[in-house]
C-alpha cells in the first residue's frame, strides 16, 4: 500500500469509529434507562425511604446527622446493554488505534504532527483510559454515555474542522522529542478528559444528594435529578475524578518539561512564554489548585470539581484556542 491509500484507509477507520461510537452511545443511553440505571434508580428510591426513616427517628431523638448511605437493593438487572456499549467502545477504540497507526505509516512519522492528528490520537487516548478504568472499577462503566459523547464531539470537530492531508513535517518538528513531548501531552489530555467527565457528573450527583438531604425534589431541572439517580454516588464520582487528575498531573508536568527541553534544543531557550507555553502553564497551575483544594476545608467537593472543570477549559484553550487566536511558535495546526 502506498502513502495515499494508507491515509485513505485511516480516514475510513475514523468514519467507522464514528459510526460504532454512535451505536455505543445509543447502547449506553438504553442502559441508563432500563439497565444499570434502573437499579441505580431503585437504590436511590430505597435510599430516600431510608433517609425518611432516619429523619423520623432522628427527629424524635435529637435532630442527628443524616448519613447518606446506599442500601443494597436486590433487583434483577438487565446488564446486556451496558455490555454491548462496552463491547462497541472496545471496537471503536481498536478502529481508532488502527486509524492512528495507518496515518502514522502513511506519513512515515509519529501521527500527531497537526491538530487533526492530535485530536484523533487524544480521542483514542481518552477511550483507552476510560476502558482501562472500567476494568479496574465497575462504576466507571457508568460514565460511558458522557465519555462516548465527548469523544464523538472531539472526533467530529477533528473530521469537520481540523482535517488536514497526511504530509511531511516541517523541519522544526523532526525530532525524537516529538514522540516524548507530544505523546505525554496526548495521554495526559485523554486522562484529563475522563476526569472532567467524572467531575461534571459529580456536580450532577452532588446536587441531587444535597437536595435529597435538604428534602427537596422536583423543580425546574427535575431531569437532572432523574439522571443523578441513575449514576454512581457523588463520592465515587469525586474519587474517580481525583484519581484520574492526580495521575494526569505529573504526566502533564512531564509533557511541559519535555517540551522545555526540546525548546532549548530548537529555539535556544527552554521557556519563553510563547502562548502555548503560557496556557500549558495556566492549565498546570489550575490543576495544582484543584489538588490543593481537595485537601482544604471548605473547598472539597463542589468547588474542587468546578476548579477541575476550569482546568479542563484552560487545557482545551491551550490546545485549540491558542492555535486559532494567537501567534506563536506552536503554529503547526495545519488549519
Amino acid at each position: 500500500m502506498n502513502s495515499t491509500s494508507l491515509a485513505q484507509l485511516s480516514n475510513f477507520l475514523v468514519y467507522g469509529a464514528l459510526i460504532v461510537l454512535a451505536l455505543a452511545m445509543a447502547a449506553f443511553a438504553i442502559d441508563l434507562g432500563v439497565g444499570t440505571g434502573r437499579r441505580r434508580a431503585a437504590e436511590a428510591a430505597a435510599r430516600r425511604d431510608h433517609q425518611a426513616r432516619v429523619a423520623a427517628t432522628a427527629g424524635s431523638a435529637s435532630g442527628g446527622v443524616s448519613v447518606i448511605e446506599r442500601p443494597a437493593v436486590d433487583i434483577e438487572v438487565d446488564e446486556r446493554w451496558a455490555r454491548i456499549g462496552v463491547s462497541l467502545s472496545v471496537l471503536a477504540f481498536l478502529l481508532l488505534v488502527g486509524a492512528v497507526l495507518t496515518r502514522g505509516f502513511s506519513a512515515g512519522r509519529p501521527p500527531w504532527g497537526n491538530m487533526y492528528e492530535f485530536s484523533v490520537a487524544g480521542a483514542t487516548a481518552a477511550m483507552g483510559v476510560w476502558l482501562f478504568l472500567t476494568r479496574r472499577r465497575r462504576e466507571v462503566r457508568e460514565l460511558g454515555l458522557l465519555v462516548v459523547v465527548t469523544v464523538l464531539l472531539i472526533l467530529g470537530v477533528a473530521v469537520v474542522v481540523l482535517y488536514t492531508e497526511s504530509a511531511q513535517l516541517v523541519p522544526a518538528l523532526k525530532s525524537y522529542w516529538l514522540w516524548i513531548h507530544v505523546t505525554a501531552a496526548i495521554i495526559a489530555s485523554g486522562i484529563f478528559t475522563v476526569g472532567s467527565v467524572a467531575s461534571m457528573l459529580f456536580l450532577v450527583a452532588d446536587r441531587y444528594e444535597r437536595r435529597l438531604a435538604a428534602g427537596q425534589s422536583g423543580g425546574r431541572a427535575a431531569w437532572l435529578d432523574s439522571l443523578a439517580q441513575r449514576l454512581p454516588t457523588a463520592d465515587v464520582l469525586d474519587r474517580t475524578a481525583y484519581q484520574t487528575i492526580a495521575f494526569a498531573f505529573p504526566l502533564w508536568f512531564f509533557a511541559i518539561v519535555a517540551g522545555a527541553i526540546w525548546a532549548e534544543g530548537a529555539w535556544g531557550r527552554y521557556w519563553g512564554w510563547d502562548p502555548k507555553e503560557t496556557w500549558a502553564f495556566i492549565t498546570l497551575v489550575i490543576y495544582a489548585a484543584y489538588l490543593h483544594a481537595r485537601s482544604t476545608a471548605g473547598w472539597r467537593g463542589r468547588p474542587a470539581a468546578i476548579i477541575a472543570l476550569v482546568g479542563f477549559s484552560a487545557f482545551l484553550f491551550s490546545y485549540i484556542g491558542v492555535n486559532i487566536f494567537f501567534f506563536g511558535f506552536h503554529s503547526y495546526s495545519g488549519v
Binding site: Q168, V170, P171, G265, D274, T278, S295, T296
Partner: protein, 520 residues
C-alpha cells in the same frame, strides 16, 4: 499539598483577628499568608495574571509585533505599557504574585520538613481504644492464642512493607506505611524553589543574541558583531567566550510536489569554528533542533534567506560597492527585499531598492510586483530600482539596512538582472552587476548557566509529585484478646491518611496472610 497529614495550612476554624499587639499581628499575618486558602488564592491569581501575556504581544517574545501594536492602537498601547502589559512576565505585579507564592510556600514547607524529619524516626501511633470507629474495620474470632495471632500479624504487616510497633501493653500491634508520600510532597515543593533558582541564575548571568551570517563570511563572538543582543542583569562583555566561526555553506531543501510544495524539508549550515584566536579549525554542522555547542554557549540556526552579491561602479568607473547584502524574506517562497547603498559614488550617491526572487516568474504581475515561484535558487533574478541623490546617512540617526531613505533622492531607472548581467545606469552615473546569489543563516547564540539547575529541579519535581500522588499513607492496627470461651477475638482497624481507595482490600489481604501464617 494534597495530603491529610496534620497540617498548619488546613485550619478549619476561621482565623481570629489579632489582639496581641505588634508581634501578635505579625504572627497573624504570617499565618494568613501561609494558610492553604491564601496559597489557593495566589495560585488562581498567578493563572489569571499569566493570561494577558498571551493576548498582548510581548517585548521578550515578539518585539516587532509590539511596535506594530503601538501603531495600530495609538491610544491604548501607552496605557497598557504603563501597566507593563508588554512585559507581563517581568512586570512588578507579576513578580509580586509569585514572590508571595514563594514566601507562602516556604512558610508552609519549612515547618513540614522539620516535622517530617521528626516523624521519620517515630513509632506508629498507639492503637486507638475503639477500632470499630475507624473507616475500615474487621472483626473475626480465631482459635489461636492472642500472642500467636499478633506474632503472625507483625510478620504479615512487615511482609507488606509496614513499619510495625508491637505495643508494650501487649494486646495490640500498630503499623504505618507510605512515609514516602510526604517525602515526595516535600521534594516536589522544594524542587519548585530549585527551578526558580535556576531560572533566576540564567536571568542574571545568561545572555543571547542573534546574527545574520552570509555564506563565506564569518562571525566573532564580540558584542559589536551581533545584530541584536540581550544581556542578563549581571552580564559583562568579558563573559563572552572568544570563539568565531565561518559559514562555509548553507543548504536548504524544500518539498517539490504535493499539497505542501515549497514548504521547507531540511536546513543545514556547514561551519568551521575555532574556540579562540589561536585554536585549530574544526568543521561542524548546525541544523534545526541540533545546535552547535562551543564553550558552553549554543549556536542555533533560527532562519535563513538569500543575499544577492553586487558590484557597483560610479561615473568614474571606480568600484564603490562590492559584496553580498542580506535580504528580508517577504513570503514563504522567499520573495525578498533589501537595499544597496553606495555613499562614495561620484558625482552623486547611489542607492538601489532590490527585490530578489530565487525562482523568478516568467511574467511579473504588475499588481503584486515580482513574486518568487519556489524557495530554491533555481532561476534567480533581482529587480532593481536605482536612485541618485543623498542617502541621508550623515545625519546621525540609525538607518534600516534593508530599506532606502529616498526622501532626498530621485529615481533614475528600473531594471531586472540575471546572475552575471550588468546594467549601465543612464547619464553616465555608473553601473551595477548582479554577481550571483548567496544564502545566509540567521543564528542565535545563547548561554544560560541556570538551565541545568532548572532541569534538575524539574526532574526532582516530577519524581516528587509522582511519589506524593501515587504513594498512599495509611495506618493499620490489630488487637487480639481472649474471649470468655477461650478463643481469640481479633479486631483490625485501618485509616487512610491520604486519598486511598485500596485500603479495605489491602487489609483483607493482610488478614488472609495472617491466617495463613497461623496455620503453618
Amino acid at each position: 499539598m494534597p495530603t491529610d497529614v496534620v497540617d498548619p495550612m488546613k485550619t478549619d476554624e476561621p482565623v481570629q483577628p489579632p489582639s496581641l499587639g505588634f508581634f501578635g499581628s505579625l504572627r497573624w499575618a504570617w499565618r494568613q499568608l501561609t494558610s492553604m486558602r491564601t496559597a489557593l488564592f495566589l495560585l488562581f491569581l498567578l493563572a489569571v495574571a499569566a493570561i494577558p501575556g498571551s493576548v498582548v504581544p510581548q517585548r521578550g517574545v515578539a518585539p516587532l509585533r509590539v511596535g506594530q501594536y503601538f501603531v495600530d492602537h495609538p491610544t491604548l498601547a501607552p496605557i497598557l505599557d504603563k501597566f507593563s502589559l508588554f512585559d507581563v512576565y517581568a512586570a512588578p505585579w507579576f513578580a509580586a504574585i509569585y514572590l508571595l507564592l514563594v514566601v507562602s510556600l516556604a512558610g508552609c514547607i519549612l515547618p513540614r520538613c522539620i516535622r517530617y524529619a521528626k516523624v521519620l524516626g517515630a513509632r506508629p501511633p498507639a492503637t486507638p481504644r475503639n477500632l470499630s470507629r475507624l473507616p475500615v474495620h474487621r472483626e473475626l474470632t480465631v482459635s489461636q492464642a492472642p500472642d500467636a495471632v499478633l506474632d503472625a500479624a507483625v510478620k504479615a504487616l512487615k511482609g507488606n512493607g509496614f513499619r510495625v510497633d508491637r505495643h508494650a501493653s501487649g494486646d495490640s500491634v500498630a503499623a504505618e506505611k507510605g512515609y514516602l508520600h510526604e517525602f515526595g510532597n516535600l521534594v516536589f515543593h522544594v524542587a519548585l524553589f530549585i527551578i526558580l533558582i535556576g531560572v533566576a541564575w540564567g536571568a542574571l548571568f545568561g545572555w543571547h543574541g542573534t546574527v545574520v551570517v552570509i555564506e563565506g563570511e564569518g562571525f566573532s563572538n564580540v558584542l559589536t558583531q551581533y545584530d541584536d543582543f540581550a544581556p542578563g542583569r549581571r552580564f559583562d562583555p568579558g563573559m563572552l567566550p572568544p570563539f568565531s566561526f565561518t559559514l562555509d555553506s548553507f543548504n536548504a531543501t524544500y518539498v517539490t510536489d504535493g499539497p505542501r510544495r515549497g514548504q521547507p524539508d531540511s536546513y543545514r549550515a556547514d561551519v568551521t569554528y575555532r574556540t579562540g584566536p589561536d585554536s585549530p579549525d574544526v568543521k561542524a554542522t548546525i541544523s534545526v533542533n541540533e545546535p552547535l555547542v562551543i564553550d558552553g554557549a549554543k549556536v542555533y540556526l533560527l532562519g535563513n534567506g538569500y543575499a544577492p552579491r553586487f558590484t557597483v561602479r560610479d561615473g568614474n568607473g571606480t568600484v564603490v560597492f562590492q559584496g553580498p547584502v542580506a535580504s528580508l524574506p517577504q513570503d514563504p517562497l522567499f520573495t525578498s527585499k533589501t537595499a544597496v547603498k553606495a555613499p562614495d559614488a561620484q558625482p552623486e550617491q547611489l542607492g538601489f531598492n532590490v527585490t530578489v526572487t530565487p525562482t523568478a516568474p516568467k511574467v511579473v504581475d504588475p499588481l503584486t510586483g515580482p513574486r518568487s515561484l519556489f524557495p530554491e535558487d533555481n532561476n534567480p533574478r533581482v529587480y532593481l530600482g536605482a536612485w541618485a541623490g543623498n542617502l541621508g546617512l550623515d545625519n546621525g540617526t540609525p538607518q534600516n539596512v534593508y530599506e532606502l531613505d529616498t526622501s532626498q533622492m530621485k529615481q533614475i531607472g528600473l531594471k531586472d538582472l540575471a546572475p552575471g548581467e550588468t546594467w549601465k545606469l543612464p547619464n553616465g552615473r555608473g553601473s551595477i552587476t548582479f554577481d550571483g546569489l548567496a544564502e545566509f543563516g540567521n543564528f542565535q547564540v545563547a548561554y544560560d548557566p541556570g538551565r541545568f539547575v532548572a532541569l534538575l529541579g524539574a526532574v526532582a519535581a516530577i519524581v516528587g509529585v509522582m511519589g506524593s500522588l501515587l504513594i498512599k499513607r495509611r495506618r493499620v492496627w490489630v488487637r487480639a484478646s481472649a474471649d470468655s470461651e477461650g478463643r481469640t477475638l481479633v479486631e483490625v482497624g485501618g485509616l487512610a491518611r491520604t486519598e486511598a481507595t485500596g485500603l479495605p482490600a489491602e487489609i483483607d489481604r493482610i488478614i488472609a496472610q495472617t491466617q495463613g501464617e497461623e496455620q503453618v
